[in-house]
């Protein structure tokens, strides 16, 4: 009986270990946040529970293509991390951060748009990858004193509209995921 119990417990442990390893591999959003924290020595803030609930209920909208308003993110797919009142100083080393970020999130993501304004410490990265019939979009936006990391699922039709103006895509997705129009 003891042996059976031991085998059962070992099996459960292996399952748990396997599960955590899988989620660690798949958590590219977390990897992006961690890379920012390590490179800039900053700390992200969790969104208060109430704000999170508000975000979920909000009919967030973003402007897509000449006045047509649509919700971008698929319901329940939004992951957000904020960096507020912090110091982002690249010390002229934005290319190194760019490399570190791309390495951290892994090869499954394609870099769609990247914009940089080093003097203002502004950087935007939009990465994209296929997720079944939808797309995962990861947006990293950094300024001198604040930053946002957003991951959302987007349906192909919305992505097709966003693709026509990829330079604005990062802002549209970040606004959609972080603002509510209450």
């Amino acid at each position: 009986m003891a042996k059976l119990k031991f085998i059962f417990l070992t099996f459960i442990c292996l399952l748990l270990l396997g599960g955590s390893a899988t989620s660690a591999r798949g958590d590219d959003f977390g990897a992006a946040v961690k890379t920012i924290e390590q490179f800039y020595r900053v700390k992200h803030q969790s969104i208060p529970l109430l704000a999170r609930a508000g975000m979920k209920a909000a009919t967030t909208a973003a402007r897509i293509k000449g006045g047509e308003y649509k919700r971008i993110a698929e319901a329940g797919s939004v992951k957000v991390a904020f960096f507020q009142d912090q110091e982002f100083d690249s010390q002229g080393n934005i290319p190194s951060f760019r490399t570190a970020l791309a390495k951290a999130i892994g090869g499954t993501w394609s870099p769609l748009v990247q914009t940089f304004a080093p003097r203002e410490e502004e950087q935007t990265y939009v990465f994209i990858r296929l997720a079944g019939e939808k797309f995962n979009v990861l947006v990293v936006t950094l300024g001198r004193h604040e930053g946002t990391v957003v991951q959302v699922n987007v349906n192909p039709h919305t992505l097709a509209l966003l693709m026509q103006s990829p330079d604005d895509m990062g802002k549209a997705i970040t606004d959609d995921a972080t603002q509510n129009d209450n």
Binding site: I94, P95, L112, T115, A117, P118, S165, P166, D167
Partner: protein, 189 residues
Amino acid sequence: MKPFFQNTLKLTFPAALLLLAMSAASAQEPRLQISNLDYLAGKASQTVDVNVDEHLLQMTAKFLGNDPDDKEIKDLVSGLKGIYVKVFEFEHENEYSAADVDSIRTQLRQPGWAKILTFTSKKEGSVEVYLMTANDRISGLALLALDPKELTIVNIVGPVDLSKLSKLEGNFGVPDLHIEAPAKTKPKN
């Protein structure tokens, strides 16, 4: 010893042929290698880097609407294999080097590429447009816009319809380059 050389030759010859074929194929590549310019992002006051691959383009074409504007863009991008854009804006003149530009021009001197347009003005710098053709069909386009304070590289991979090229301006990250559609020639009487 002899069989060793014979075996080596047997293996080396096809490998050499394969390498030769591969290098010839890469020489005909309509996609430019422009990542060597990424270091300029550290010097530029503003950088935009857009990479739209074939899969994304085709997906976009599939889901675009049916209004005339969308349809025209859909027709334009449906055969394309990629759109790659890099724009570097600098605060001061001459912050990018001739070697940076040469790294692109060298690729554009490879077989298949032909310069179709050069426009130079003191005020706006110069614009060079190159086309790659294979079997009498356009398989790629490259545009180099060189301003003392700005460097723009646009690389469109795939069959480009030159008459509709201006429709891409402002779409898929292609900046406004004031590309004029070729004028229609009047039929001779």
